[in-house]
């Protein structure tokens, strides 16, 4: 396994092969292949302290690290550097719902300054974070979507939203969306598309002149509505696309059709980000359809549950050489709360190069979980994030070498093997 990130994407892009530049502020997206799984590079210029632009290069497909109030849930700034990623998802509602005025944030100079990121990270602002800020379709009105947050339900009108954005100055921001779960009526679904388009127009009209706007695409599980929404958004002057409404109760099998319907309509030269897909299988589904960025809470969920990712990062996607302990494990991850790890003095993964695996044993993390110490979550989040980023690296390599389809098949089939064995024995 070659896992070096630095050598990751040299992108020998011949100029004839679709190089595209998005005209909006400081963002460039280079993509190699148009259809299906694709690798690309998102270049974002951040204004440095001395006005010298700091160019951040993000290889796609990739995850956007989910954060709570701008920092990964349990990883502080000094440890953040141990994670080889530089793109963070931030929900702007976290700040205003806690009583900090947008005025204060803009006085500080925006989110970059407030979070002390020193222009080393790209901030993607998305109102929905699937943890603390959850879209509530029942309370949405024709004027504004509604979000359930720890400090109550918030209605966010486009005007307020754009105001927030212009104060916070994220590098990328998603337009407002009326996300509905898969089970709503056709009429409600249609309304959600109409509203989302209207709010996008409102946002564009207000033109906050900051960051790059990603148009929101919704439409639930309805193929027609999805296509209509994608077509309409594609007509607008946006720098990329944010695909919402997934992970809200739809069936996993209907996703590929929905996704490909959207992708067929969208121009190839703009990045596509999706919210709500997180499992490795879902990630592969998304990548196969042509998604570039994933906003996922999978790592957070695992970490809270005391799980550590352990699935093999085989370059061909083979999952069979993995010998999981049979206790509390589904062969893709281990539950470190299990008593089996009580005196296990090996790291989570022997060949993992993350801070956690370099420094601590399973026995220690098991003890920390046992006594409810928050360091457990910190260590687990570092490992899980690191492992998932490496998984994306392996996928990018596979796409680069043109063997993604094979990788995906091998991965999915060999991952199923332990469960088939269980089914037989049961």
């Amino acid at each position: 396994m070659s896992l070096s990130l630095s050598s990751s994407l040299s992108l020998p892009l011949p100029l004839s092969n679709q190089i595209t530049t998005t005209p909006t502020m400081g963002m460039k997206f280079l993509v190699k292949k148009a259809r299906g799984a694709r690798v690309g590079a998102l270049e974002i210029a951040l204004l440095g302290n001395n006005n010298n632009n700091n160019i951040i290069n993000i290889n796609t497909p990739n995850i956007v690290i989910s954060t709570c109030k701008g920092l990964p849930h349990f990883i502080s700034l000094d440890l953040l550097s141990s994670i080889p990623s530089s793109i963070l998802q931030v929900s702007n509602l976290h700040f205003t719902s806690e009583g900090v005025s947008t005025n204060t944030i803009s006085k500080l100079g925006g989110l970059h300054q407030m979070l002390g990121l020193n222009n080393k990270y790209v901030i993607v602002s998305v109102p929905r974070d699937s943890i603390q800020s959850i879209p509530q379709f029942k309370a949405a009105t024709k004027f504004a979507p509604s979000f359930d947050t720890p400090s109550g339900r918030l209605l966010v009108k486009p005007k307020e939203y754009v105001e927030m954005i212009s104060c916070m100055k994220p590098n990328i921001w998603a337009a407002l969306a009326d996300e509905v779960p898969a089970w709503v009526s056709h009429k409600r679904n249609k309304t959600s598309v109409d509203r989302t388009l209207k709010w996008l127009d409102d946002c564009l009209a207000l033109n906050p002149e900051t960051g790059s706007i990603f148009g929101a695409i919704v439409g639930g599980s309805n193929l027609e509505e999805r296509r209509r929404c994608a077509e309409e958004v594609a007509k607008r002057n946006v720098s990329g696309y944010w695909i919402g409404g997934f992970g809200l109760g739809e069936c996993m099998d209907e996703r590929p059709t929905l996704l490909s319907a959207i992708m067929d309509v969208l121009p190839d030269d703009k990045p596509r980000m999706i919210c709500g897909l997180g499992l490795p299988e879902e990630i592969l589904q998304g990548i196969a359809a042509g998604i570039d960025l994933f906003d996922t809470t999978y790592i957070y969920t695992l970490t809270l549950g005391g799980f550590a990712l352990t699935f093999p990062l085989d370059k061909n996607g083979n999952q069979q050489n993995f010998q999981p302990s049979q206790i509390e494990s589904d062969s893709t991850k281990i539950n470190l709360r299990a008593t089996a790890y009580r005196n296990d003095t090996s790291p989570i993964l022997e060949d993992c190069s993350c801070y956690t695996c370099k420094n601590h044993t399973k026995a220690y993390i098991n003890h920390l979980l046992n006594v409810h110490e928050m360091l457990a979550q910190t260590l687990l989040e570092i490992h899980n994030t690191h492992h998932y980023l490496m998984f994306f690296q392996v996928i990018r390599d596979a796409i680069q070498d043109g063997r993604f389809e094979k990788f995906r098949q091998t991965f999915l089939e060999s991952r199923r093997v332990p469960f088939e064995g269980e089914a037989i024995s049961a």
């Binding site: 009583g99 900090v100 500080l108 005196n343 003095t345 801070y355 420094n359 006594v371 928050m374």
Partner: protein, 531 residues
């Protein structure tokens, strides 16, 4: 899995193997400094050492006083895992971790020694498991020094209702599974031997300082009886330093007996225990002053449970070296930051729009990067708020320790104390107990004090009383203590000085009588002790 690991029999000579990490600075560079030369010769170190321990009992530390200012001292404390500089503050990592911080962060902050709680560690993950893993150092991969307490403190504070204390030991009811668990002095030491910290504490019988009566005396004598059992049970005297704990409540006589008893045992270091349990500050500092006054000069002195920055400064001025407290980390979890001006409550609404850093003079990671407004939205709601504030608060305590050390070494300790006090009490309203303590410590703080006449007046009274005692006392050794204790008593009693001045002579003669009685009592005790 454990089969592969070789148990290190002699931690003293074995450096904990370290894996490489990203952001840690060069870790312990004390490889060449260990084992200390105390068993061989003293010439290896080229710094002038004012005093160091005699080589009688086996001990795994070297304590070298580098500089003094009156009672205050700055020293180098060489422990099996790290060379520390005193005065130092030790953050508490009850269950094998400082809440929310990684080891690399602790090293960045400058923590030299961290504390583990025997009681908690014995319950989870159990000392046997820790031994199997090669000690707590290896288990949590902490390369620097470590101290474990004996479990005695848990008797007084949180878990008193779960404990039953007899001559044999303490019976706890396990909060994990409800089973009774007998902790004898032997058991406590054995557990601590298995945990393998650099410094281990003797099991003491701790009582709340707020109670009175014969229980205090019983506890003090029991502590003395238990120390012998602890020394007897100590299986690794060459790798671990057993510290004795001075008990005796607020009674100077009992404290004195205890100090004497412990000093006779010639331990590697001494702790002043039983304090910070709700007593008034005036009694607190007097006990510290009395104990530091009579503990040997060449051994480290550790005041247990002290963690307010002001207390640390006062105790250091009185000659203490080590402190531990959960205060900086606990208060952080409740949303309070330590700043030179006192504390900053980040939960307050006003913080929401405050764009300044927590402390503009602080150079920690948190203060360099974040505004109060940002910390405000995190505190008490997200784990990250606790992490960041703990980081800042510990950094503050470490910085304070460092400043204390360097100001003593550089001979500007009084100035440091004055600066510290004038920042914390800009109005000059320095609490009286601080003024009194500084008087004893021989530090002139009149420049930052609003009522200098009060201090000088108290001094006068003390002096008068002091001279009188020494002239009428047969045992000069004991006199110093008695004088101190008694002298200070007066100064606090006649504090509201205007009235004191008017009826100065009356009060003084009253006090003189009291003192005489006190001396009488002391001498009786002394006689009894001699017999």
């Amino acid at each position: 899995m454990y089969g592969r690991m070789t148990m290190s029999i002699d931690v003293r000579l074995t450096q904990i193997p370290k894996r490489k990490t990203w952001n840690t600075k060069s870790k312990s560079d004390n490889k060449n400094l260990w084992p200390p030369h105390m068993f061989h010769n003293h010439k290896g170190i080229n710094t002038t050492v004012l005093c160091s321990a005699p080589d009688i009992n086996p001990m795994a530390l070297r304590f070298e006083v580098l500089a003094r200012f009156n009672r205050a001292r700055a020293a180098r404390l060489t422990l099996p895992h790290f060379v520390c500089e005193t005065p130092l503050f030790m953050p508490v990592g009850t269950q094998g971790t400082i809440k929310g911080l990684t080891n690399s962060q602790l090293e960045d902050i400058g923590c030299q020694i961290i504390l583990g709680n025997t009681y908690h560690l014995a319950l989870r993950p159990t000392s046997e498991l820790l031994e199997e893993a090669g000690g707590l150092h290896k288990f949590m991969n902490w390369p620097r020094a470590m101290l474990t307490d004996s479990g005695g403190f848990q008797m007084v504070v949180s878990l008193l209702h779960l404990a039953d204390i007899t001559e044999k030991g303490v019976t706890f009811q396990s909060p994990v599974d409800g089973k009774p668990m007998l902790l004898t002095p032997e058991e406590s030491i054995q557990i601590q031997n298995r945990i393998g910290a650099d410094i281990i504490m003797a099991l003491d019988d701790v009582v709340k300082t707020t109670i009175t009566g014969p229980r205090i005396e019983e506890a003090m004598y029991r502590t003395l009886r238990w120390i012998d059992r602890c020394i007897e049970a100590h299986g690794r005297p060459h790798d671990q330093n057993l510290f004795g704990i001075v008990q005796g409540g607020l009674d100077p006589v009992l404290r004195d007996i205890c100090v004497k008893g412990l000093v006779d045992r010639n331990l590697p270091g001494y702790a002043i225990g039983g304090l910070a349990g709700g007593e008034d500050k005036d009694s607190f500092w007097r006990v510290v002053a009395q104990c530091t006054g009579s503990l040997p000069e060449d051994k480290p002195r550790y005041v247990m449970g002290v963690g307010y920055p002001l207390d640390v400064v006062v105790c250091s001025a009185l000659g203490a070296d080590m402190y531990d407290c959960v205060y900086p980390t606990r208060t952080a979890r409740f949303g309070t930051a330590l700043v030179p001006e006192g504390v900053l409550k980040l939960k307050q609404r006003a913080m929401a729009d405050d764009t300044r850093p927590i402390d503009s003079t602080c150079s920690c990671m948190v203060c360099k990067n974040y505004s109060r407004a940002y910390i405000h939205i995190l505190v008490t709601k997200d784990a990250m708020g606790s992490q960041l504030l703990s980081y800042h608060n510990l950094y503050y305590m470490m910085q304070l320790s460092k400043d204390l050390h360097s100001s003593i070494v550089e001979g500007r300790f009084p100035k440091f104390v004055c600066d510290f006090l004038s920042k914390m009490f800009p109005e000059g309203d320095v609490p009286e107990w601080v003024c009194n303590a500084m008087e004893v410590a021989g530090i002139d703080i009149s420049s930052c004090c609003a009522f200098p006449e009060r201090v000088s007046n108290a001094k006068e009274v003390a002096e008068v009383a002091g001279i009188d005692i020494s002239s009428c006392c047969a045992f000069p050794d004991r006199v110093r203590n008695a004088k101190e204790v008694a002298g200070i008593d007066i100064s606090s009693d006649c504090t509201l000085s205007s009235s004191c001045r008017k009826h100065g002579s009356d009060i003084m003669s009253d006090e003189y009588h009291k003192l005489k009685l006190e001396m009488e009592r002391l001498r009786n005790i002394e006689d009894a002790l001699r017999k």
